[in-house]
């Protein structure tokens, strides 16, 4: 935790409500996001209990599994989920624009510009918390290798149509969510915690109700009190609250449920469903379970949309569209893989894919950190406090030139600053200059400031381009980090995996992963 965040949290404690941690919104927020609030069955990893899903906050679709241990009912739920989610996810596939991209021509080996399609917009899934993202990943993993009767007439338990396809899309969203700064699948608690600092711990911030209580407390109540109440308050004894006695007044936002709810209400209702002998009994029992699950889902649904409202009030950061474009590329790429009939994502990444993903995420992380600081003075202030940037006034500019056959302008600029950056010999610094970046190197500390030598951004001529050299009195902000970090070197093709990493994968394993073989432990 940076010193700035610590300070903001202490201020939040003192003020009794959350403090802004950003002045702009650092993540893309779709005009029409799809909210998904899933619940899981206690003690049964990957067995969904129910979900509220939809793009219209006033008309969510309720999906419930009356008996999560029943494979057919679970499939019915997944089919319903596919029905609700797939049209949304695939709805952005056809609105395209064209982009020019450099690709290596296989015949000449030269880079040639080609026109490629890029989807003009992409879907966005919102879940209440980090657990929701994990659950989407788990759902994707459990669905994408299923076979439908159409794909494989011999499959013992064929999945309903579209279920494997939904699995592939959810896997894609969950994998994309691991890329720093991506916005295809976002957790509301992470989103809010990025933009506000509360007076509680990061772990406590994962409770959506408590987090919103800090950010937007009820009138007349402090954020701290409201958060504590939301977290702990239970209905009093049976005399005054009937069957809700002992339940949390504000149920958790999933995917895990309140154990008291499970034990007192859900378990007996499921037992009734299991014991039902007639269609009528069964229907009544199912209706009861639907009501119960809805009662736990609806508060989270409302909280999630309240979070959306709060975030919409923040103006979007300058580089958010740039990062969203990368999400659109990833969406387009997955669309193309699905259309080309490629198999689902493998269970495990091979050595080359894993290394590529890690490298691209590290680049994305560096890019995100730089862009957030450039977009938001509050974030830049934290970087300045950490010695990774400094701002100040130019007190002197002395023209100088490089040595060599063709002397280039290398002006010396003195910047007076109260910041204490970690600069020493050879450190390069950067600043925004129009839509470009100007680089400089540290020369010396002088009594009236830090002396820098400009090394770029002045054009190729003998004289610097007009406006490219700062003047006395200008206020500048220099960063020690690069503004547009580059990616790493190319890696070998998976077929050329070297001996140190196990050599090329055996024939066929690159293409498709067989479904897990059934084992004795597979009881369901």
């Amino acid at each position: 935790m940076s010193l700035m965040t610590t300070l903001a949290r202490m201020e939040a404690v003192a003020a009794g409500r959350a403090q802004p941690a950003a002045t702009v919104r650092h993540r893309h927020l779709s005009a029409r996001p799809m909210a998904l609030v899933p619940l899981t069955t206690a003690g049964e990893a990957g067995a969904p209990l129910g979900a509220l899903v939809g793009t219209d906050r006033d008309a969510p679709r309720l999906l419930v599994v009356p008996q999560p241990r029943d494979r057919d009912l679970r499939f019915a739920f997944l089919a319903g989920l596919a029905d609700a989610v797939l049209p949304y996810l695939e709805g952005y596939a056809d609105g395209v624009e064209t982009e020019e991209r450099k690709e290596t021509d296989p015949e000449t080996g030269k880079k040639v510009p080609v026109e490629v399609e890029l989807c003009a917009d992409a879907p966005q899934l919102l879940v209440p918390g980090a657990g929701g993202v994990e659950f989407v990943r788990l759902l994707g993993r459990s669905m994408r290798f299923r076979r439908t009767a159409e794909q494989d007439p011999q499959a013992p338990y064929p999945a309903p149509p579209h279920v494997p396809l939904l699995g592939r899309w959810l896997t894609h969203c969950a994998e994309r969510a691991r890329v720093p700064g991506s916005s295809m699948l976002l957790s509301m608690t992470d989103l809010l915690a990025r933009h506000w600092a509360t007076g509680q711990s990061g772990l406590e911030d994962q409770h959506l109700g408590a987090l919103l209580a800090w950010i937007d407390p009820p009138v007349g109540e402090s954020g701290a009190d409201a958060a504590l109440r939301v977290e702990l308050e239970r209905f009093p004894d049976a005399a005054s609250s009937g069957e809700q006695a002992g339940l949390l007044r504000h149920p958790p936002s999933g995917p895990a449920t309140d154990p008291v709810f499970d034990n007192r209400l859900l378990a007996p209702a499921m037992a009734r469903f299991d014991a039902a002998r007639s269609a009528v009994e069964r229907r009544d029992a199912e209706r009861r379970i639907r009501e119960l699950v809805a009662s736990q889902l609806e508060p989270a649904w409302q909280l999630l949309w309240r979070g959306v409202d709060l975030l919409r009030k923040l103006p979007e950061g300058g580089h958010v569209a740039d990062r969203w474009k990368r999400d659109r590329w990833s969406y387009t790429g997955h669309r193309d893989r699905v259309r080309a009939g490629e198999p689902p994502q493998p269970k495990r990444d091979d050595a080359v894919t894993a290394a590529q993903k890690l490298a691209s995420r590290e680049t994305a992380q560096a890019r995100l950190e730089a862009q957030e600081a450039l977009d938001d003075p509050l974030v830049m202030a934290a970087r300045r406090l950490a010695g990774e940037a400094f701002a100040g006034e130019v007190t002197e500019v002395v023209m100088a030139r490089s040595e060599g056959r063709r002397p280039m302008p290398r002006p010396l600029v003195t910047v007076r600053t109260d910041d204490r950056p970690h600069v020493n010999d050879g450190v390069r610094v950067f600043r925004v200059l129009g839509d470009k970046v100007q680089s400089a190197e540290f020369v010396a500390y002088e009594p009236d400031g830090i002396v820098l030598r400009l090394t770029g951004g002045m054009g190729q001529g003998k004289e610097p381009k007009p406006g490219s050299v700062p003047e006395e009195g200008d206020r500048l902000c220099w960063t020690l980090f690069e503004h547009a970090p580059r990616g790493g070197p190319a890696l070998p093709d998976p077929e050329a995996t070297p001996w140190t990493h196990g050599g090329p994968p055996p024939e066929g394993t690159l293409v498709a992963d067989a479904p897990d073989p059934p084992t004795d432990e597979d009881l369901l």
Binding site: A351, A354, A355, P489, P492, T500, H501
Partner: protein, 451 residues
Amino acid sequence: MNGSFEPEDAALDPGTAAARATEAILHSTLHGTERGVVVDSPPGAGKSTLVVRAARELAAAGRPLMVVAQTNAQVDDLVDRLATADPDLPVGRLHSSEANPYDTVLDRHPSVRTSAKAADLAGLDVVISTAAKWAYVSNVEPWQHAIVDEAYQMRSDALLAVAGLFERALFVGDPGQLDPFSVVGAEQWAGLSHDPSASAVSTLLAHNPELPQHRLPVSWRLPASAAPLVSDAFYPFTPFRSGTGPGDRRLAFAVASDGSAPDRVLDEAAEAGWGLLELPARNTPRTDPEAVRAVAAVVRRLLDRGTTAASERSEEPVPVTADRIAVGTAHRDQAAAVRTALAELGVPGVAVDTANRLQGREFDVTVVLHPLSGRPDASAFHLETGRLCVLASRHRHACIVVCRAGVAELLDEHPSTEPVQLGATVKFPDGWEAMFSTWEFWSRHRVPWQP
């Protein structure tokens, strides 16, 4: 631990034991049938000497060689050593195309050719560069042999990018130092044999468990007072010993102690090889001003008291000058704060850096700001064994640890809680255990600080 460490005869004198290990390594490298050889080297065990010797012998055997190191400083150091040891050996230094890409010291060696293009260096006996630069080399004939230096600091994905460039390789490194890290989460690959965030050696051995593994048994850097502690705490399964005996290394002061805490801890360190300057327990920001001042005061007194060091290297005691002293910290802002404090006391020339940047370097006396000093919690970062191991193994004579009281209580309140990952090799020693055993040992050399 898997592997085939040759048993070491404790009865042998250190010089003979080390020489035998080196012979076995060179034999495996030059005449072995396996594609790789792994050498584990504790701190100061002559790893660089081994690399230089292996490079010369491979070159002499007519096998063109590429050497992969991790940082530009390591590469420059290796080239300099190699060219000094064998002025006739044609050596290429492949460097980046940025400004000042290599140390100008290399220009003194006529046998060293430098270039940013691998093609310019084709045909030279030895070509040396960083892993990052090698990763951009393509369309070349693979080298018959490679030496990968500091292989435990190299990440698996970095090895993946360069492994296509060579047929066989000698991997040399210190398993006790800092593991490579990633700024983003890599849990999804934990337990995979090719986890890209793991060290190059763990991936290599996971896929090639039959490769011969050797180790260097003697630390020439660490004094007899330090080797047992560092070996027990950080290398419990691959012990090593000091190349020197008790009393071979001595610190003396021209000026007697003035009774202050810094002077008393210096006296303790001169006597025992270790000193713990303990500040009163308190939760502080990372750049704890009091602890930083204490570190600076110890360094100032070390210089003011005319410290001299006697060792096997010279008959006469040698003055311990600023360039023979280092201050090690866990974080960069702590290092910056110590630098400022030293500047205020008028002490120039002392190396002040984080553990990451002190790796591979050697000093007479080190002053260490303990990673857990003043902390309210013990995170995985601060418990990492490698960090403490690097900080506690840079010195030839003595090491002074500066810390807030209460480390034992802090450790008791923070047992390791990292999630267990299926298939991932459990790393020994556990950071918690290493923290505790070193702390217990240092407590015996405690001097309380009265501010």
